[in-house]
């Protein structure tokens, strides 16, 4: 089922790239339409899976990736519509399409354990997924900032100069995405801690709960993420780390998020793999 949104995302990727390279207006409209179609079909897929399982499918890593892609696509579409700026699509779509391959190739809803019910767990996962989507946007905006910055600094006003919005716009978009992401990251982590406290009683039911601690790679790396983004939100600009350095931080932060999200979730974590 996840193949239909993937097909739309791939088609949108081609259209965004075409629009970016050739500045062909109809290609831009087609790109947005294809992405919107992708989001709709993705909404339908997630809706169907929710009906089937009786809960929103974000408990397993694969399902969480699918939900993350869906949230990121919505967040990007919202940004595009509110800023009338399509250039970023070329950079976001490879991420969307690339990640969507995982749920498309590993179909089927995963079983959800009994203990993963309740509003706190839902808040924990949905906040973190939304935070990750914001960080993904910030990362892409950061990359485009650096590309444009380098062109202007090198006095070679070419490809990106003609296509991207101003440095100031990119910088403030980056900052906004990071602030929103940080708020949700914090909420998600606090919800996770509280939830862990509540389910300690069920240790006998699921041995993974006993293993939840700071030593778990996933939780440890998430804390590093929180530290990086906290620095970017509160300290970076006060020591003159705006602009390009903030952009680099956004990229570095999201690389850590992505590492945590895919390889660590699948292969390394011992306790946090529900």
């Amino acid at each position: 089922m996840n193949a239909a949104p993937l097909a739309f995302y791939l088609a949108a990727l081609v259209a965004y790239a075409w629009h970016f390279a050739k500045r062909h207006a109809p290609a831009g409209t087609a790109a947005t339409t294809l992405l919107a179609a992708g989001v709709l079909s993705h909404t339908f897929v997630i809706g169907m899976q929710t009906m089937e399982a009786g809960h929103v499918p974000f408990a397993g890593t694969t399902a969480a990736i699918s939900t993350f892609v869906w949230l990121l696509a919505i967040a990007y579409l919202y940004t595009e519509i509110t800023t009338s700026e399509r250039a970023m699509g070329t950079f976001i779509l490879p991420l969307l399409a690339g990640l969507q391959f995982i749920p498309a190739l590993r179909p089927g809803a995963e079983e959800r354990s009994e203990i993963l019910q309740g509003p706190l767990f839902g808040l924990h996962v949905s906040s973190l997924l939304f935070a990750y989507a914001s960080f993904a946007l910030a990362c892409v905006i950061g990359i485009t900032y650096v590309l444009l910055f380098k062109e202007i600094k090198a006095k070679h006003l070419g490809f990106f100069y003609a296509r991207l919005p101003s440095l100031q716009v990119l910088d403030s978009m980056n900052h906004r995405a990071i602030v929103i992401g940080w708020i949700f990251l914090t909420i998600g982590m606090v919800a996770g801690v509280v939830w862990t406290g509540q389910v300690r009683a069920y240790e006998a039911l699921d041995p993974r709960i006993a293993n939840i601690s700071l030593a778990d790679p996933k939780i440890f790396v998430a804390l590093i993420c929180w530290a990086v983004y906290s620095f970017e939100v509160f300290a970076a600009r006060r020591i003159g780390w705006g602009g390009r350095r903030a952009a680099y931080l956004s990229v570095a932060g999201f690389v850590i998020v992505l590492l945590n999200f895919v390889p660590i979730s699948y292969f390394l974590t011992t306790s946090h793999n529900f």
């Binding site: 207006a25 600094k153 006095k155 440095l167 716009v169 600009r237 006060r238 003159g240």
Partner: protein, 457 residues
């Protein structure tokens, strides 16, 4: 009907002459009415900008109109014809159309791809429509030119990139800061170049323009000339640098007046907010190494000129694509334009068939009298549809003919085959009367529209 263009432009005449042939001074409407009064043209549009004065006309006799419009362009302004004649250029039919499409696209402009011309072409057409000087032919021509202009602007990079140093500086500033509203500009030095660049920035709505010069009196004078600008003494340079976003230096000093160390000291308290420095001094006013500081964007006059050159080259690279679009639009207009030649023949053919149909219905009137009103109406409908069907293919074929000579041959053959001379219209080359054409409410000629609302027998 033929299309004629007579004009004078920056390519054929010096500015002194172009100024004298300007139609704007007395109003386009007056000029159009004066031209219509001469009777040699049926429709006219006058396009008058600082780079060109062109008359587009639809006429029956192109030779007569050519002489008359050329005469009008001089006599209307009271200029000696011999003075202007060598600078006039002319074009007819599709060449005239191509010229207008190139003009609307900015391909014929002094600054290649400049955007104002499309608006001026639209104004010229609106003025002609206002006094009913433009009819179906020129409406179609100008509408197609708007399409050509718009397509070239959106589908090519002909109009992209700044092509003057002042605009290049503003474009760069906008790429760094987004909107320039609320930004502070500092001009170091009180020379003409600095003043001009500051004026460019001011037109973008910057918050404050501050002038700092070694001589406070000089600074105050320049600030006054810019209007709404402030002057500050040289000693406050560092403080003003700290609060500025855009710095323009043009002092003419022998040694740099802004050093890397000075800027580094300034950047820290301002938390590395971006600083865009335009150094148009010669020799340079800002140490080149200052450009290495994070968030300092240093451009000198050569850098700006290089971007202008790059933009010019980019625009030049888009010419072929723009010409291709113009060619496509000329073809599109050409198909419609050529179909006009076939109108008289089509009309004659229709009249001939209709008269035969009517004659047959009259002849059979007695036999049909047995039918009731409904039956007679049905017979009328059936015969009419039959005629329509029979004429459909010949009409389409005539419409698709590619040149006037072939249309003439077909017209002659059809004339003989169907004895069209008795049908009461002129030969194929002559224009049809206004009644012969079914004009749509938009004023476009639709030569092959079916007649409607025919009553029963």
């Amino acid at each position: 009907m033929r299309l004629l263009l007579v004009g004078i432009s920056h390519r054929t005449a010096p500015i002194e002459l172009r100024e004298r042939v300007d139609f704007h001074a007395r109003g386009l409407a007056t000029a159009l009415e004066a031209l219509a009064g001469r009777g040699s043209t049926r429709e006219a549009v006058v396009l008058s900008t600082c780079n060109r004065s062109e008359v587009y006309a639809a006429c029956g006799d192109v030779e007569r109109a050519r002489r008359d419009v050329a005469d009008f362009m001089t006599s209307y302004h009271g200029i000696d014809r011999a003075l202007v004649a060598p600078h006039l250029f002319e074009a007819t039919d599709l060449e005239a159309a191509r010229h207008l499409f190139r003009v609307a696209s900015g391909l014929d402009s002094l600054v290649m791809g400049e955007p104002q011309i499309l608006g001026q072409v639209k104004e010229a057409h609106a003025a002609a429509t206002g006094v009913r000087a433009a009819g179906p032919m020129l409406n179609r021509l100008f509408q197609t030119s708007f399409t050509a202009g718009k397509r070239v602007r959106t589908e090519t990079g002909l109009g992209s990139g700044a092509v003057s140093v002042g605009f290049a500086a503003v474009a760069l500033a906008r790429k760094i800061f987004g909107s320039l509203k609320g930004r502070n500009v500092l001009v170091i030095g009180a020379g003409e170049m600095g003043k001009l660049t500051a004026l460019h920035m001011k037109s973008q709505g910057v918050e404050r323009v501050m002038i700092v010069s070694r001589s406070m009196a000089h600074a105050a004078r320049t600030a006054e000339a810019i209007g709404g600008a402030l002057a500050a003494p040289w000693e406050e340079l560092n403080a003003v640098l700290g609060s500025s976003d855009i710095v323009i230096t043009a002092t003419g000093a022998a040694a740099p007046v802004v050093t890397r160390a000075q800027l580094q000291a300034v950047m820290r308290p301002r938390w590395n907010r971006p600083l865009f420095i335009i150094d148009i001094g010669m020799p340079r006013d800002v140490e080149a190494a200052a450009g290495d500081i994070e968030q300092v964007f240093l451009y000198n006059i050569d850098d700006l000129q290089a971007t202008v050159q790059e933009n010019m080259a980019l625009r030049a690279g888009e010419i072929a694509e723009a010409e291709r679009i113009v060619g496509e639009e000329v073809d599109r207009f050409g198909a419609w334009f050529r179909s006009l030649d076939a109108i008289p023949t089509v009309v004659a053919l229709r009249r001939r068939f209709e008269s035969i149909r009517q004659a047959e219905l009259d002849r059979l009137d007695f036999k049909l009298s047995a039918l009731g009103p409904d039956g007679r109406a049905r017979v009328d409908e059936v015969t009419r549809l039959l005629v329509e069907k029979l004429l459909l293919t010949p009409t389409e074929q005539l419409k698709a003919l590619r040149d006037a000579a072939t249309v003439g041959q077909y017209a002659e053959a059809l004339g003989r085959l169907f004895n069209l001379s008795q049908a009461g219209t002129g030969s194929a080359g002559e224009p049809a009367t206004e009644d012969d054409r079914a004009a749509t409410p938009e004023g476009r000629v639709e030569p092959f529209a079916r007649r409607k609302n025919r009553g029963p027998l």
